[in-house]
């Protein structure tokens, strides 16, 4: 990764999990959640510095949440939480942003906002996004990697009926193939 082992380059990657197993009673401010993104393996001792807080504030501005920095994280709406977690992934100034099912737990309006936020970010860094929702990804991403035992890479412009059939069609055919039994055999077996 970036020409070195992934462990060494971990600090250049921003990561956002699919779902935060989050305790609603956990008292923590939005600011403190975002600051976690400044942690690194090397820097061990002492509190966060002023520079960390400024970076966290800038990340919050990018996702339009700067006015909620002092709020309790549990008071945010689902979409705001999602954006705060993106800010946490952004605050380490990553070159690569990894998003695991970022819209799995939010409604349509939030998904739309989220998409716009990502589109503007994609100018600054590479974004890799894992999703099961093809309509969500295909409309605005540059490339799609389809992982179904094998990995296929498609530029999104070339995704048409034919490609979709390749992606899903094979799978459906495979299932049918497995379960297809000549009816005669079946009856005979039970008879």
């Amino acid at each position: 990764m970036f020409g070195k082992s992934p462990k060494k380059m971990r600090h250049r990657v921003g990561y956002m999990p699919q779902y935060l197993s989050f305790d609603p009673q956990f008292p923590i401010t939005v600011m403190d959640v975002v600051l976690m993104g400044r942690l690194q393996a090397g820097m061990l001792l002492g509190p966060f510095k002023k520079g960390d807080r400024i970076a966290a504030m800038q990340a919050l501005e990018k996702v339009d949440l700067a006015n909620r920095a002092r709020s309790r994280f549990s008071e945010l709406s689902g979409g705001q939480r999602q954006r705060a977690l993106i800010a946490r992934a952004l605050v380490g100034k990553p070159d690569l942003l990894l998003l695991d099912e970022p819209t799995a737990n939010v409604d349509q309006t939030i998904e739309e906002q989220f998409r716009n936020a990502l589109r503007s970010l994609s100018a600054e860094m590479s974004i890799v996004l894992v999703s099961h929702d093809l309509s969500f990804v295909s409309s605005w991403l540059a490339h799609v990697l389809c992982v179904n035992r094998e990995v296929h890479m498609h530029p999104t412009a070339s995704i048409d009926g034919k490609t979709l059939q390749d992606i899903f069609g094979t799978e459906i055919a495979a299932v049918r193939h497995d379960h297809e039994c000549p009816p005669g055999d079946h009856v005979h077996h039970h008879g």
Binding site: K7, R10, H11, V13, Y15, P17, L20, F22, D23, P24, Q25, F26, P27, I28, T29, D32, V33, L35, M36, G37, L39, Q40, A41, G42, L44, L45, G46, P47, F48, R70, S71, R72, S74, E75, R88, G92
Partner: protein
């Protein structure tokens, strides 16, 4: 209403009470801080098992002192070693994710107590009683214990000052902490060891069985009022000190044993606040910002 506690403190005969109060107030800072981590990381039961395992060390230390003639062995040191061993054992098994967590906790809990009782019952000399260790006894808190409390407290506080950020990340979101390159297993074990030390600090005063309540209840109440972990620690520290003072006051006023008196004050406050919260039908109290919006 004159305070029996203030009156008793004024009497020169009450050196032990004074020691108990000083130890309690010093330990409140520790309990507030470590209790906050324990509550938010949801390891109350692990901390409980660690506390009960301390009995194994106490039992062995009493046995060694009275039957083997090891004059320099202090039960408090035995408690500390046994609690740290239990913390490392449970922590390692939990981290390996190979066994059921609650079963391991229960097994360690019972083993520690079994070892403790076994050794205590083997002591034939000196009229040793285990009861004061189980339920606490303020007449036990000596000046030497005060120094032990202060030294252990200082060590834990230093770790908190150095690694608070890492502890917060591990408590809030282990997966993300790992992605940032934080050594999660190390900080998890360190947190358990800090809980072990903290629990031992107040074992003299409130006893092994109930110390876990004083560690977690002030923090649990604090989490309902505070907006961040720092605030939760401050709330927990103040509440812990308050419960100790009120508990000692009631203990003197109505001649109740001190440990249970302190714990009942803490538990009574906790359940009252839960109840009030339920009546108002909201999970947490609103913050200033919310009120301004309305």
């Amino acid at each position: 209403m004159a305070s029996q506690l203030l009156e008793a403190l004024g009497s020169p005969l009450n050196g032990f009470l004074r020691n108990a109060l000083i130890a309690g107030l010093l330990a409140s800072i520790l309990f507030g801080i470590v209790g906050t981590y324990v509550v938010t990381k949801r390891i109350t039961y692990i901390a409980g098992a660690i506390a009960h395992c301390a009995l194994g060390g106490i039992g062995f230390a009493l046995f060694a002192r009275h039957e083997l003639g090891w004059e320099n062995v202090d039960p408090l040191h035995g408690a500390l070693i046994a609690a740290l061993a239990a913390a490392l054992l449970i922590g390692t098994v939990v981290l390996s994710r190979s066994e059921r967590e609650d079963t391991v906790i229960g097994a360690t809990w019972a083993t520690g107590m079994a070892i403790g009782f076994m050794f205590v019952k083997m002591v034939r000399r000196g009229g040793v009683s285990i009861e004061s260790w189980l339920f606490g006894d303020i007449n036990f808190v000596s000046r030497a214990d005060l120094w032990t409390v202060a030294a252990l407290g200082a060590a834990v506080l230093l770790l908190v000052l150095l690694f608070h950020r890492q502890f917060v990340a591990v408590c809030f979101d282990e997966e993300f902490a790992r992605a940032r390159g934080i050594n999660v297993p190390f900080f998890y074990l360190l947190l358990l060891c800090m809980s072990a030390v903290t629990v031992v600090v107040l074992v003299r005063l409130v006893g092994i069985i109930m110390v876990i309540a004083l560690l977690t209840l002030p923090a649990a109440i604090g989490s309902r009022f505070a907006r961040g972990l720092g605030g939760m620690m401050a709330w927990a520290t103040i509440l812990c000190a308050l419960f100790l003072i009120l508990g000692l006051e009631f203990s003197l006023r109505w001649n109740i044993i001190a440990g249970p008196s302190i714990i009942l004050v803490a538990a009574g406050s906790y359940f009252s606040i839960l109840l009030i919260g339920k009546i108002k039908n909201r999970p947490a109290l609103f913050t200033k910002q919310d009120r301004q919006k309305k």
